[in-house]
Amino acid sequence: MDALAEAFRLIITLDADLYEILWLSIRVSLVALAIAAVIGLPLGTYLAITHFPGRKLCILLLNALMGMPPVVVGLMVYLLLSRSGPLGWMGLLYTPTAMIIAQVVLITPIIAALSNQVIESLHQEYHDTFYSMGVTGRRAVAAYLVDARYALTTCILAGFGRAIAEVGAVIIVGGNIDHLTRVMTTAIALETSKGNLTLALALGAVLLTMSLLVNALVIGVREYAEKRQYA
């Protein structure tokens, strides 16, 4: 109980170490999310509305990549960025950028696969009407993205939820370096192993609150859309 009380004191008194870790976690996850959304949404949309040989295989791969173990992603990015790896010359290993790259690899398939399902279903629904109205190409894509805005928001929030709670990949490529690459999840793992439950609990409480907020937002967006028949 003492550890829990101390944890809340850290949160309430805006403890510098805690907020440094919190801010880095949010920054890394938001940048990764933005990049993953910029790649994942067009990719999911493209696969939903075009037909080419191997399209189904691509969708199958995307769906499979959704469940990719984070440590495997971490290992792949590590091999890529390590000094002897193909991108080793960039010196990115054990930096926040490396963590962003790992998170992008992790959440892009999630955003792409989920948005693919959303847009594909809308494409099937709108196809005849759009044909009849002469709506094609970019105009159709823009319409899908606008009309699927709430569903796509929940896809993006799902990506954020995965990114912020991820530990396996970022610990491998980030190294959990104090004041440089230490984020909430890696800090919790470290502090717990050291027996310093106060900071671990405080970070855990913040992480749990963020997870609850993201999920509440997902439910709120979904309910708003369903209420107005925009889902």
Binding site: D128, T129, A143, V146, D147, A225, Q229, Y230
Partner: protein, 236 residues
């Protein structure tokens, strides 16, 4: 007044689905303005014929010309209203604006006039998909008419609507006819066909069994299958 797409000539139209001939050599010429109602039993090929006319389905064989044009070249002079209206996840007014973006920019009042014509102006800012079935279909018709089509195709567009919506849609169709639009309507509703049709095309087993002026068709159908259909002996 829109340029006419008449006569519509369909020759030897064939379409197979799962090794079954669903359109089995349709030969048909529609040359009179007004409303042509396509009738026939379930599975006869009525909706497929309409979809071929609109270019939504490519037939396996045969030709369709509308006036001097092929189906693909006549697309922007055609509009189609489906049995299940598909509306965008936007407001009623935004649905019309999407269908006619140029008009929405230059003459937004005309969009409101279009809504007034289908008695939906008071719902302009409502989410379109929250409208009742009848209201959605009226919006769908208003959207189809924005482009002043020369040919309007309706695939059982009033099935399962309330009587008031059916009458309003029928009245709009008559207005549209007066403006020079050719209407081809698939309907199972004999009452509606009697009220609206100038001409009946009766389809059975993927072929045109009969094409007659409406009065003559209902007074004395020439084919046994049409006779049986009108007598209710063949399921709609």
């Amino acid at each position: 007044m829109p340029d006419s797409l008449l006569p519509i000539r369909i020759s030897d139209l064939r379409l197979n689905k799962r090794d079954r001939a669903v359109l089995d050599g349709v030969d048909l010429t529609i040359q009179e303005p007004g409303i042509t109602v396509i009738m026939g039993p379930n599975g006869a090929g009525k909706s497929l014929l309409l979809r071929c006319l609109h270019g939504l389905i490519q037939p396996d064989h045969g030709q369709i010309t509308l006036g001097q044009l092929k189906v693909t070249d006549s697309r922007n002079q055609q509009a189609m209203v489906f049995q299940q209206p598909v509306l965008l996840r936007r407001t009623v007014l935004q649905n019309l604006a999407f269908a006619a973006p140029e008009m929405a920019r230059t003459e937004p009042k005309r969009l409101m006039q279009a809504l007034e014509s289908v008695l939906l102006a008071h719902l302009a800012d409502q989410p379109a998909r929250m409208l009742s079935g009848g209201e959605q279909q009226r919006l769908s018709l208003a959207r189809a008419l924005l482009g002043k089509p020369a040919l309007l195709l309706l695939d059982e567009a009033t099935a399962s609507l309330d009587p008031a919506s059916v009458l309003l849609i029928e009245s709009l169709l008559k207005t549209q006819i007066a403006r020079g639009t050719k209407v081809i309507l698939v309907s199972h509703d004999q009452g509606q066909a009697r009220r609206l049709a100038d001409e009946i095309v009766f389809i059975s087993n993927g072929q045109v069994a009969e094409q007659s002026p409406a009065d003559a068709f209902f007074a004395a159908p020439r084919t046994p299958v049409a006779k049986a259909y009108l007598a209710g002996e063949i399921p709609c």
